[in-house]
């Protein structure tokens, strides 16, 4: 699975993306975030405030309960501030 990180999520994790293979039990976005937060202190810091985290699966915004299914690309970032 390709993970992408943007803005301060990227800065705290220390990379713009990584390819990871989550354990079989990780079936939802919320479960993925829980698992990612165990990988390093940077991941934990980036994901500590779940209310400030947004996720897109294969370029579509989803909520924490969304299933990962056959997702190829999961992007994790703060609320957007464009315009």
């Amino acid at each position: 699975m390709q993970l992408l990180y943007f803005a301060w999520v990227r800065e705290r994790i220390g990379t713009g993306g990584e390819t990871l293979d989550p354990p079989a039990g990780v079936a939802t976005v919320a479960a993925l975030l829980d698992w990612l937060a165990t990988l390093s202190p940077g991941h934990a810091a980036a994901l500590a405030d779940r209310g400030a985290i947004r996720v897109a699966v294969d370029e579509v915004f989803v909520g924490p309960d969304a299933g990962l299914g056959t997702a190829r690309e999961v992007a994790i970032f703060p609320p957007v501030t464009g315009g």
Binding site: L4, F6, A7, W8, R10, A56, E59, F61, A75, F77, P78, P79, V80, T81, G82, G83
Partner: protein, 150 residues
Amino acid sequence: MITTRVQPEAFDSGIETAALGAGRHDIGAVVSFTGHVRADAGLVSLSLEHYPGMTERQLAAIAAEAEARWPLLGGTVIHRHGRLLPGDAIVLVAIASAHRGAAFAAAEFLMDWLKTRAPFWKREERADGSTAWVAPRTSDDTAAARWEQT
């Protein structure tokens, strides 16, 4: 019909807007919105990060939604990324329609949705050397919520 572009290069709002009406006799109203970088509180620059691929996809989806809601006769949406300076134009939304009501509504809708649904993030660089990611504004969420269909 609405063209969308994501680019680091500067654009000319006047030229882009005028192009919508050129040679057309069915357009009665052209509304354009240009967003500029303000030099609030010692801001030196504003850097826009985006999610390549999803950004283009979201802009196209937002444009299609506007076309479905109002009878439009053309439009251009341009959003820049990269490092911008005070006064620089960040975003253009230009809309043409037969009548002004649809043109104003679609332009406001597009801006509200761009602010809340397009994957861009702004980082401010200040005169003291510090940087900070811009926090989302509640007023933008409120503005976007106007367009939710119940």
